[in-house]
Amino acid sequence: MLDKNGIAKRIAQEVQDGFYVNLGIGIPTLVANYVRDDIELEFQSENGILGMGPFPREEEVDADLINAGKQTITALPGASFFDSSMSFGMIRGQHVDLTILGAMEVAQNGNIANWKIPGKMVKGMGGAMDLVGSAKNIIVAMMHTNKAGDSKLLKTCSLPLTGVECVTKIVTNLAVLDIVDKKFRLLERAPGISVEDIQKATEGELIIEGDIPEMSI
């Protein structure tokens, strides 16, 4: 079973040379720590920076330089700042190559819910609906089950949707899956996790074809 850093590590393998990548808040943010350093990539943060760098040293902290999680950051050489309209132009116009974000639920048709629990939690969708509405390549990073032990990979989402039929791939603490013919297809197992473990933790339909390799991270 993977921890959050393990999930981030596995997702980092999906990042290809020349990719512009948008990282959501939470586990996705950790992905930046594990990308091979021999590939060229740039991180976009939708509040208005391309070429986002690591967190600043104490003396570098600048209130006018934050990421979408409101954390202080730095800008790398070749970075640029822009307004919110242009930022979402990059996203809507499919100039960003890869979007990695968290989810409360994913359905087997690729629907995703991650912004609202009616009557309980209403933080808002932020940029998530724009991202999932346009991105060609969306990887969800999440735990396979919630705190109550219920599956987050469902036949249909029960929570208000963020986007429809948009998720490309899911990396959880148990498995890597993609979506084919409106079903989850199991691609890899987490170390020490059996196909049965994954089957048990997945409420949605699961395609299991041939031997499912253990992921190498």
């Binding site: 509040n47 967190f55 202080t72 307004d83 919110s84 808002g124 969708m125 724009d130």
Partner: protein, 230 residues
């Protein structure tokens, strides 16, 4: 050159009234019009609608207006940082319209540019699309979104000149440029106010034509929400 300067925040907010709709720049607490917000608190304008990506925190930014219950309705994309906000919303005291961040930005930009409506894929198939026209373009469903209408836009810029030309800094730029000229009256507070000719015309982010009033802010706290260091 058309001079847009006013002497202070009091003059800048002349005409602000109960029941009006305001746009406020900023993302989180970065690039928010601190001085104008404080003046709104002081004037105690009531029943206002605020178009702002976020709602501040409990004791800063728009949180100050929320605490005094001056806000009737918030139009935002993310309000997770503000507990009082969540309380007022869940209890029904506060009317809230949550919309995708990119749509929020584009609806401001549409107002600024005289585009009454446009299509976006964001929010298709979700609550956000309810009651809106859906139309396919290139085989993909999009929803129609309309330009915002607002009475005042409150903007924070880094530098500005007397002609109203503006320059923003870093990610404090965010929604500020797209809200300039998107309301009937655009009020800008700057950290530094310079003479015309001191800003390079090639690097002006927002030309003065989008600005009605500009003043040097008395004080900028620039609070940081998540101070994160190596």
């Amino acid at each position: 050159m058309i001079n847009k300067t006013v002497n202070n925040v009091t003059e800048a907010l002349e005409g602000v009234q109960d029941g009006m709709t305001f746009m406020l720049g900023g993302f989180g607490l970065s690039g928010i019009p601190e001085n104008s917000i404080q003046e709104l608190v002081k004037r105690n304008v009531q029943n206002v609608t605020c178009i702002s990506n976020n709602a501040g925190v409990d004791d800063f930014g728009l949180g100050l207006l929320l605490k005094k219950k001056q806000i009737k309705k918030m139009i935002s994309s993310y309000v997770g940082e503000n507990a009082e906000f969540e309380r007022q919303m869940l209890s029904g005291e506060l009317d809230v319209e949550l919309i995708p961040q990119g749509t929020l930005a584009e609806r401001c930009r549409a107002a600024q540019n005289g585009i009454p409506a446009f299509y976006t894929p964001a929010g298709y198939g979700t609550e956000v699309a309810e009651g809106k026209e859906v139309r396919d373009f290139n085989g993909k469903p999009h929803i129609m979104e309309k330009a915002f209408e607002a009475d005042f836009a409150f903007i924070k810029a880094w530098k500005g000149d007397e002609a109203g030309n503006l320059i923003f800094k870093g990610t404090a730029r965010n929604f500020n440029p797209v809200m300039c000229g998107a309301a009937k009256i655009t009020v800008v507070e700057v950290e530094e106010l310079v003479k015309p000719g001191e800003l390079d015309p090639n690097f002006v982010h927002i030309p003065g034509i989008f600005v009605q009033r500009i003043f040097k802010g008395e004080k900028f706290e620039k609070r940081i929400e998540q101070r994160t260091t190596k």
